[in-house]
């Protein structure tokens, strides 16, 4: 079956512009996570969706970052008024029933803010 897919694979934008990153989780997975990975750095947790529960937004670095998950499936991470320090790889993962189960990661979106 298909794994987690993310689009676009690469995004170059100008400082101050808004960007939207998309994640399609594995069908049937109720949990979805967003992470940020800066060059040579670890995985920085951003946000976690579990079923119909309120998302855990505790990792979002500023109010310029937001995410939504429509219909319990596709998720969009939006970064408003992008800054150069937002340049990173944004990874999405999904798991079957929530934290603790195996997370399946997508290939990531490489964002470069000029």
């Amino acid at each position: 079956g298909a794994g987690v897919s993310q689009s676009p694979s690469n995004k170059v934008t100008e400082k101050g512009k808004d960007v939207e990153l998309r994640c399609d989780p594995i069908s049937g997975h109720t949990a979805l996570y967003w992470y940020r990975q800066s060059l040579g750095q670890g995985l920085e947790f951003l946000i976690y969706f579990q079923g119909n529960s309120a998302p855990d937004k505790s990792g979002l670095p500023s109010d310029r970052f937001s995410a939504e998950r429509t219909g319990g499936s596709v998720s969009t991470l939006t970064i408003q008024r992008t800054q150069q320090e937002d340049s990173a790889v944004y990874l999405c993962a999904s798991s079957l029933v929530g934290v603790g189960e195996t997370q399946y990661f997508g290939p990531g979106t490489r964002l470069l803010v000029l």
Binding site: V4, Y35, L43, L91, V99, G100, Q103, F105, P107
Partner: protein, 110 residues
């Protein structure tokens, strides 16, 4: 208390040697410890995982050693191969949170 400390940051091992990556945690509520492997340009993928009721788990050339009293766990790669060159992340799960270490870049010399 929510941190997972991983070391070393980078590691170079000769082909055929043993690669060892260490992680330490503080939160005693952690109850699941996975290791992920990430190749350049790809997302991380689960490699092997352990729960704290066992002290060791082995899958092929990969072994996790777990020391509950010391709150430490490590990944051992036996007979390391150039194809093992990747970034490895340890992680710990507890209280509905999963925390990742900062990663170890492993390079196996041919």
């Amino acid at each position: 208390q929510q941190q997972v400390k991983q070391s070393p940051q980078s590691l170079i091992v000769q082909k055929g040697g043993i690669s060892i990556i260490n992680c330490a945690y503080e939160n005693t509520a952690f109850d699941y410890f996975p290791w992920y492997q990430q190749f350049p340009g790809k997302g991380p993928a689960l490699l092997i995982a352990i729960r704290p009721d066992v002290s060791e788990k082995k899958e092929g050339r990969f072994t996790i050693s777990f020391n509950k009293s010391a709150k430490q766990f490590s990944l051992h790669i036996m007979d390391s191969q150039p194809g093992d060159s990747a970034t490895y992340f340890c992680a710990a799960k507890g209280n509905d949170k999963i925390i990742f270490g900062k990663g170890t870049r492993l390079h196996i010399l041919p």
